[in-house]
Amino acid sequence: MTGHPHDHGHAHAPAAAEDGPPSEYARLGRAVREILVEKGILSAADVRRAIEAMDARGPHLGARMVARAWHDLAYKARLLADGTAAAAELGIEMGPTILKVVENTAAVHNLIVCTLCSCYPRMVLGIPPDWYKSRPYRSRAVHEPRSVLAEFGTVIPDDVEVRVHDSTADLRYLVLPRRPAGTEGWSEAALASLVTRDSMIGVSLARSAHEPVETA
């Protein structure tokens, strides 16, 4: 990201193309930010650092944890016992939230939703996608999870329990997807390339070993 207006005090850069026309709420946000900075409650640098921290977080963090768990069974045991501590082992801080990792197995497929708002494991996956925050997902994931999964192209066999986690309070959930077949001997980095954001929300499975993936 370049050219955040707050980088320049009050000399505002033009809005980036992706911003579209400035909305009433964009102005409201800017107004509140400017007033808080003038009152000394926040600094422009605080805002910039918070945005940089947000931009640095994304599914690559969760993917590292999953790949480590696939690669190292002792880490996997720690991850399932205490996700927050296991994240910290990899230098990932959970802030005020607690990370609960739920494991997909031959018997259980997990799916994450927040019906009341849009709670999401931001510290390990970044900002949630729009569909996660949408009414259809929030309404239907708890009541007709198999239909929602099918809309993502994910069909879970009838002998597997679909377990939906409604993220209502102080925990944030991450799905540990099943390790794809044919990945024996793969490096952690190669394994991480199979771990998609959607597989850690539970709407899809990890990529198969044969799917072409971009190499880093």
Partner: protein, 107 residues
């Protein structure tokens, strides 16, 4: 007298709704700023997440559905800051007008 329990608009688990459209967008700069505001205000103990949620839940249902995610957030953040006396409605309105004039001048 009705015994129908009160169900609030945001509490939507299990209600019928359409297909999940797999939409996403790159956050605009102002959306990231609003996100950062909440992170910082919450870190300082000025606004708690449950206060943010309460303000969002207080939106009329049509506004809740119409507004974008960060539009709901800034609405609630502003209301909480006004309620706590951190800033006033007049300060905010004046500043919004100033910003609108500035944008007009830059156009």
């Amino acid at each position: 007298m009705s015994d129908t329990p009160l169900r609030r608009h945001h509490d939507m688990g299990g209600l019928p709704a359409g297909r999940v459209e797999r939409a996403d967008h790159v956050l605009a700069a102002w959306e990231k700023e609003v996100d950062a505001l909440l992170v910082l205000l919450s870190r300082q103990g000025i606004i708690r997440v449950d206060e943010l949620r309460r303000g969002i839940e207080a939106l009329p249902p049509d506004a809740y559905d119409r507004l974008g995610y960060y539009e709901r957030w800034i609405h609630s953040i502003t209301a909480a800051l006004v309620e706590k006396g951190v800033l006033t409605q007049a300060e905010v309105a004046d500043r919004v007008a100033t910003i609108a004039a500035r944008e007009e001048a830059e156009r």
